[in-house]
Every structure is written in C-alpha cells, then in structure tokens.
Homo-oligomer: 227 residues x 6
C-alpha cells in the first residue's frame, strides 16, 4: 500500500562495484544466481534489442496518465541509477520521451524500467537510452497529481526497494535486493566459471544427458525408450 | 454502423500540403497538437521499425478472413494516400502481402494501417512499404463477401473518415480530421519551435522541475521531501 | 491426450528433399498450398527477424517450468530436424538458452519451435540459431519431471506428428504432414510459377480487379459505386 | 475523432415504438435482421444475467478515470433512453455506482452500456438497473476533465450515434441506426415468425440437414461420408 | 493437421457405463485420476453454473464464422454423446443457439464443448442444455464451407479423439481417452473413497500438516519457523 | 524480492474491531476512504457473487503448480483471518478446493484471496466459503517446493503485509494497512453518513449537477451546450 506525495532524498544504494558488475552476467544468470526469484513479469520488454545494463534503483510511483513525478525523480538520480516506475493503475500511456531521456542522461541515469508506455522510441534508440516498458504509445501525459519517489513500489509484479540493483537485457528485468548484491555477484560468477567448458563439450557433440549425468535419474523416474 | 457493398469514388481529401507536412512531426507531437485525441489503440504496431509517414486516408471495411475489398480499394488510391482497413469482427488473418503492396505502391500509396494481420513481412520490409497492423499471420484470405470502400470506419478504436490525415511512426498511428489538418500543422510546429532550446537546457543539467517551474505547484499539491 | 515418460527413437521422417525444399516457399505460400490448414497460432513469433527454415519435426512434450526433456530430445535430433516443443500447461518460462542451442546445433538441428519462453536471446541471435516462441523470459527451468519425446503433440493449437515438415519464417510456422510433403512442394511451386508475371503486371499499374477479373463477380455480389 | 466539451441537447431519437419493440427479439435476432452488423465486441457483458432491454442511445464520451460527464449526461436522459459511454483511452475504473444509477433511473433510463468498469454491482442488481460493461472495479473516479455528451462515439468497437437504438441482453449489445429501427423490427419479426415451427420440427427429431435442405449443397461442396 | 470435408459415421465410443459414471466424480477428481493430463485450457467455462456431465465425444471441426458442420454433426449424435467443436482459426462468433440445442437434445446429446462462442444463452439455460465455451456472442454464422465430423480435433489445446469421454463441470473440461475410461473410473473411485474421512478430520481441526505427515518433509526441505 | 522457506508465526494483526467493521462498507467505499489506493487489480473476481467480508491477512507465497504452503498457512490462521496467496510466477492451476476450505473454515478463516486458480467451485459455493481468484481450473497441485508464510507478498499487483485488513466483495478486493484500519473505518463511516440523503434527493429527480454544484465548474472548464 502506497504513501502518496513523498520524496525520499536519502536511499541506501547497493554496493556500487557489485551493482556495476551484475550487468555483464545478464538477467538470466543473475536470476539463477538469486535462486530463481526477483524477475519482473516477462511482459516487460526492451524497446530496442541489444541493451544490457545494471544499476541502482530510483523508484517512482506514478498516477495513470500523469508523468509529473518523473520530473521529480530526475532530481534524485545519481550516476549509475536506473529509474523504476510503477503506476497506481493499469495504463499504457506514453509517460517518457526524448526530453525526459535527455534530462535523465544528464543526471547519469543508465536506463528506465516502466510498467506503462513510452514514446519517441526512434529517438530514444538513436540516443542509446535503454528502456524496458509494457507498451509503446504516442499518448502523452498531464502533470497534475502527486505520486511518490523512492518508496518501495510494485513494478510488473515485483517489489522493488530504492537502492536495489536492477539487471536488464533482452531476456528481461531482474531485481536484486541491495543486501544481496555482492553475494549475487559471487554466485553468478561461480555459475559462469565453467560455462565455457560446457559449451565446448556440447559443441563437440557430447550430450547434456551424459555431461549432466541425467541418464540414471531419467531411468529411475521411469523414462522408457521405444524403437 | 456500417453500410456494406458501397464504394465512394469521390472523397474530400485533406489539404495536400498539410497532409504531407505532418509526417515530420511524428505521431506523438501531432497527438499533442490535436489536444490528445485521435490516437489509434497502441496495439497497432509497425511491422518494421523506422518508418514515418503521413497521408490521406482511403478507408476499407473488410469481412473476417476476406480481403476482396482491398483489391477494390486499390483502384481508389491516389498518390499520397494511406489505406486504413477495418474488419467487421476480430480477425488476425494475413489480409495483405507483397502482391497487394506492389499494386498499392504502383498507385502511389504511402502505407497501410490495418486492424488485422498481414503477411510476407520480410518482403514488405525489403520493398520499403510501411505497414501498421494488429498481427502477423501466414493465413491468407478468400475473396467472397462484400465490404465497403471510403465509408467512415472504426479502426483500432478510432473513427476514421475518408480523406482524414493519417500520421504513423514507431510510436503509433494518429488520425487528424481533414478540416483540422492545417491548424494541426501550425500547432505542431509551435510545439516543436522551442523543443531544441529545451533539449539543450536539459542536456546541460537544468532540471525539468526548474525549467517548467514545477516546484511551487508541487509544493502546493502537498509534496513532501524527506531526508 | 498425452502419454508421459516415453521416447520414440524411430520416427518416420518426411522425404528429405521435400522437407528441404519447402523453406524457400515460405510459410504463407506453403499454407496456401496445403489448402489453408496447418498453421500454428500467430502468437508464435521468431525471436529474431529474417530466419526462414524448413525441416522434419522432432517433438517434445514438456512439463511446466521443467526443461529436462529437451536434453532427452537432443539425442534424437538428426541433421535437418526442427524441434517442436509443447507444454502440458500454459507456461512462459525460459526453457531454452545458448547451451541447449549449442547442443542442438551440434546435432544438426535447424531450429526450435516452442509453445513457451526462451532466454539468452541475444546470444541465440549471434549464433544464428532460429527460434519461434510464445514468450521471452529470463526464468530458467528445473529438471525433475518426465514428459515425452516424439509423440504427437499440440503446439500453439496445431497437432504435430514426429516427422512432419515444419516451415517457419517471419510470417509464422506451418506444419505439413509427412505424407503430404512432396505434393505440397508441387502445389507451392505451381503457386509461385506465375507470381513473377503477376507482380510485374501489378507494378506496371494493372489493377487486381482486372488481372483477376473481379469486376463482374463484384457487381453480381451487389457492389455499388457512388460518385 | 472526438470534439471535447460539447453537450448536444437536441438529438434525433429513433421511433419510440420501434425502439421499444426491439428488446423482445433479443440481440442475436436483431443482429441477424440487420445483416450481421452493429454488434459491439463480445467483451461487453451484462453485470447480472437475465436482463433484456432496448432503448434510444444517449451517448457520453469520458476521460480516463473521470466520470464527470456522466452527471452531465443524466440531465439529457429522457424516459426510454439507454446511456452509452465510451472512454478516450483504455480504462477499467469503476465509473458508475448506485448513486448514479438512482439518478439515471429517476430520469427514466433503461440501462447503461459502458466501455469501462462499474462498481456497487450487488446494489445495482438489487435495484434491477441493467448494465453492460467491460470490467468491474471498486476504483472510483475524479470529476476534473471535460468529455462530451450526445456526440457519435465508438463504444467497444462500434460507432454509436445519439438516438440509435441499443438492444442488449445476455448475448451482447447491438446498435441499430435510428433510420433503420422500423425496418429492423420488421426483419426481426419475419425471422421469428417461423421459429416456433422450426423448433417443433427439430424437437421431434427432424434434422436441420433435412429441414434446411442442406444435403445437396453439402455433397456439392464435396462432403464425404466414411463408415 | 486436419482433413476437411469428411464425416466419420463409425466411431469407437468409450464403454458406456464408464462414460456415464465419470460425471459424478467431477473434472478435478478425474483429472487427478488421469495423472494430471487431459484438461482443456481453463478459458473454457460453463455458460451457466451448476452443470455436471460426462459423455462420449462426437467431434466437429468448424471454419471461422461458419456453423454448417454443426448441422452435419447433429445426425451423428447418439444418446449419451457430448459434442466437442474446434475451429480452424481463433473465432468468438456465436456458433450455437437454441434451435441447434433443440436438435441436439432430440438426438440425446448431453452437452456441447466449443472452442468459440455461443448465443441464446438465456434460453439455453432455461432448456437446461449444458454448454462450455470460450465466448458468448450474438454474432451468428454462415453455412458455406466444409469442416469435418468425427476426426481428432484440438479443442482448447487438448487433442480429443471421437469416442473419448468428456467430463465437464464448473471446474472445467477433461478428456479421458476411450481406452482409459474404465481404469479412470477405478482410479477416481479410489481417490474419493477416503475423502469423507479426510474431510471429517479437517473439519474437526486436524491440520493437513499432520494428517498428511508433512512436517518432516517440510523441515527436510529447509522450512524455518520464526516467532 | 521474496525470502523462501520462512514461516512467521507472530504477526501484528490490525485492530480486530476495525478489521471486522470494514466489511459492511464494501470495497468501493473503503477504497475511497483510503484516498484511492490499496485496490488489487480488477481481474481478482469472486467465484460466487454476493459475498462481502473483511478480515486480517495471513499471507502465503506459493510456487507455480505447488500448494504445499497452503497447508503450512492453515496452521497460522486465527479466527477472523483472510488468507492472501501470491505465486512466484503466473499460474492458473487450481491450488485450493473443498478439503483445504474445510480446514481453513475449521481454523476460523473468513475467506481466500489468491492470485491463481481454485477448483471445487460448486462445493465451495455450497459451503459458503468466500474466494476471490484469478482463474478457475480443475488442475491440481503438487507438494514439493517451499514458499513462505506471513511475509509481505505482491498479490494482483498490490503489496499485502501480514496483518493488513482485507475487504472483499463483488466489486473487488482492497488492502488496508493495519496501522490505518481504525482511521479508515472513520473515513468510510463519514462517507456513508450522508449517502442516504443523497440517494433520496437523486431518486426524487434532483440532478447531481445541482446537488454537487457542478454547473459552475463545468462552465469554467469550457463546457458548451448546443441545441
């Protein structure tokens, strides 16, 4: 349940080094490293493919059809932040375009994750400002009602606390609690350590059935082969 | 409510110069310039990114699974037109492919906006024929039942009258009534006039809060800052 | 109704030459050549545009959130196969990523059609491994419950029997029964034979109304022209 | 394309007798009698089963989350009217509850058809006020922005002009243009005239195949029977 | 992949006694007794609550917007059958109303399961004819194109073979292969045998944790209690 | 972000008297009294109409297809509680049926709000156990993976903390934070105080336009009347 009309200027951002390193692992590996929690619903899609970022969350709660609080949020952005925007009701309006992106970029923002629509998508692509959204819509917004900045929000079904690490790429968006950022880097690194060796084996024709020693558990589970 | 089996050969097209100029502003600016009306539902998406067109509407009413009237519509196309197709029921079939696109192009059409599916999307991209649609489907159509051409139609929730201006790009599709085309050009131009200056300011780090003088109305609305 | 826990090692693959030739016609032409049957629902979309393949189906039935059987299926892949994966319940999890793709490629697979989600989509694009799916999700899978391999499955609303030919491109995915593969090649070739001539005529300005002799049947159906 | 901020006090209502008589035929028969046009999308559902009404349309255009214009519309209601409400954007908020229903009833309204949400549904059922809507939601509305009353609106995909006849029951909602109301009564009556005889025949075991003489056209279409 | 234009007059119906007995267990118990397979997608809902039936499947494949084959199917109905209708493409039209229901009832049909829309729902309720459908729509159908009767069809994602047992109630629709009908009766009866005892225990306040001896496996899985 | 495998036995329940009194106001009035926050998404619907309850939340986090934690939750229920269940991924399976309802009732539960599916809906109706859910499905669950009990969960887009008050009826489900329960009772009572007088006025034909003194602000906003 949300408190409206509040801006928290002081938030506890996750460790910067950990927040920065998580991008390279990608959302799928980070999600695994977290024990398969933290993923926003898969309807959150990048508006342009190929972007891969991580950063600390500045959160915004918006009202339907009203993007006033995105201007308020801009002032709270620090270099390395990703803005995470939720709306108090379902809305596909275009809350964000090239002017706000210019402002966010000048504050050091690395991207936007918004549970609503955006516009000026062609220009956003040319600017290289990464956005994950639920919709694209030319419909702009008014500036009339208060939401909040830097309160915990529910974005695409996931609770995001200000300062959490956001990892986003073509596979989706994952939220890593600030307190778990460093441990997640380690767990993700451990997962990746032997991926190269596995990939080489599989490329050479070794089957996952053998590499992962699955034949016996499959047989025990009752798998039958028929010729 | 639709009349079936009628082709209107004479329609009142919007002023050509205005219809041509609106493309450059893009759907988001035009939608604002119209007072935030005229936008088709955001499920209408370009089948290839990067297209940006405007033109006068030739409308078609289609029956589900039947694209006969698109051939009838082709004859009514004049250079600078965009075909706007509605269907009498929900349908995702592929009504339009490379052969019809070839025919439309030879008549001078600038694009197609269709509340249904299309196919041959790879070839349409190679031809550079812009299409906004609700779906993509390999399923072709029969040619058996009458619809109409150049009657007012409801396309993706918006009423489109023959001769209206259609503006379409990556952000969506907007319909500008013929009678308002010239005024909309002016309003859109006015909106754009000082966008460059705004962008420069924001890029230099000036906040929207200050540039738009939002701090006082936000305080009056009750916004509280917490450290 | 599915039998769980069975792997059929011997399947009757469609004629190889026919299976290989169908890719070039594309899904739309093949769907027409089949008499407009065999199309999977249009929510099945390529994760990257521009891929166009055909091949023989190796089928997999998966459990929700569990991709164990994809490893079992890998062993049954022969060069020229396309894996077709169904799930026993709605699921958008990411069942397939770059490691499985490496394994599938090493077995000679030409692609994957899956009624669920995939991940590592950027890497899959770099690898050039074609995938058609219902969703993209970073959420991985467990390996705990049995499904089946090479039984008839329902994928995106279409019954696919092992050995059937799958034709997939930007327009969608079509299933051609093995027994009809050769006849479908002929029918598709016949359809294409005079497409070039038609395209030239339409490009020169001849109307489909005249080329297809539609004016009389339209008049008989009651079409009225109004000036 | 809508004009905002206008209330038309004078509308041309369909012939009262015809408007009143259409309820008894029901939406399915009226839709047939119209030649299968005029049906609102099937997501428009009654909030309580068993209601069956017809009346003349008073139309309202609403803004998202704002029900101010429903109060404006109330004054324009005459006995025998049905209020048809559209919204300028997708919205599922609860625009209408028991107080507005009390007011509408006191003006003689026969029901509400709204392309959005309503609330107080239990009380509305107890009051016997018929409503067809897209959603049910406890979320109320503000009263801040202008729409219009008695302009043509697009409601659930259908163009409704003030004064048209609305026929609504458990099967859906149909719009009959005022000018066609009388003819539609006749056509609907003609359709119903021999329904009783048909029903008796079918109940006695006569097959539709024989009653409608379908066997020959089915055979000509190529239907084969296999034992 | 479907064959069009064929009616199979001879089908192998499941054992009548087994088909009749399954209704009493309900879809949930039968689905469990089958090992959790056979359930049609949950968007298949009864048009009226409280119906609970089982019977042998007569299958129909329909074309979009065309209900001709339902008349053909009527002749193939035997007492105790349930008609299962699939469509070759997504369609929400109203394929079935009170006249067809009268005919089906006179043939001894126990219900209809249709992956499309129906109409006359109020009358169908008064007649007590049970229907499970994807939609309700006043839009009627034409009678122009061939489908098939009594071929295997995919209905709401499930493969249904003519003669299979259909069990349908407020929880959904399950398909039991004819060959497994008798065994499923036994398995369902075994499941139900001690349900009464369980219910009494739970009603008396015994926890499922204790009745099912879950405390130890939960602890082993790592569940921690915090005060 | 969720912690898995934890059961909090001690939660701070909202004031009992306040929690009990809120039911009578209904979800719409409570939502208004809260300042229009706290509403779960409107896809949460009662499985039977006419139920109206309030109570203190016991929360459960479930895994997809697994209802093990509902048994764990049962032990934490105290008289006057409503169980609020979230799932870590989208799932429509039937997590809850008559046996669990028997157990919940014996513990004093007043209802269930679940962001997934339930089954045995006919029996649940006969038992009078109120349920709000996203889906109905005959598909049962396994008992294999840990979730948590009495942690904050996101249910249908809303953050619910254990001990919050849940108010649910035919209009939807609202969550009132424990700390605001008493104040919300007062605000709701104040709203209701003069509803009777308003209703009488409106019933007598007084327009909302006059009763709420809207004519002047409408005129100031620019509303024009046209004859």
């Amino acid at each position: 349940m949300y408190q409206l009309g509040v801006v928290h200027r002081t938030i506890h951002r996750a460790d910067r080094a950990a927040a920065d390193r998580l991008a390279a692992f990608g959302s799928a590996t980070v999600h695994e490293a977290m024990g398969r929690v933290g993923l926003l619903k898969p309807y959150m899609r990048p508006i342009h493919p190929g972007q891969q970022v991580s950063g600390t969350a500045v959160t915004v709660l918006l009202q339907p059809g009203d993007n006033w609080m995105l201007h308020v949020a801009a002032e709270q952005i620090q270099p390395g932040d990703i803005v995470v925007a939720a709306v108090t009701a379902e809305c596909s309006d275009g809350y964000f375009g090239d002017l706000l992106a210019t402002s966010f970029l000048s504050r050091g923002a690395r991207g936007l994750v918004i549970d609503a629509g955006v516009r000026d998508v062609k220009t956003l692509g040319e600017m290289g400002f990464p956005v994950w959204s639920k919709a694209i819509s030319a419909k702009g917004c008014i500036k009339a009602t208060l939401g909040s900045v830097n309160i915990p929000v529910v974005c695409a079904g996931m609770l995001v606390t200000p300062g959490d690490v956001i990892v986003a790429d073509d596979d989706g968006v994952v939220c890593v609690p600030a307190a778990r950022a460093a441990a997640t880097v380690e767990a993700a690194a451990a997962r990746e350590a032997n991926e190269g060796a596995k990939r080489d084996k599989l490329a050479s024709g070794v089957l996952g059935l053998d590499m992962y020693k699955m034949r016996e558990p499959l047989a025990q589970a009752g798998l039958r082969y028929v010729d």
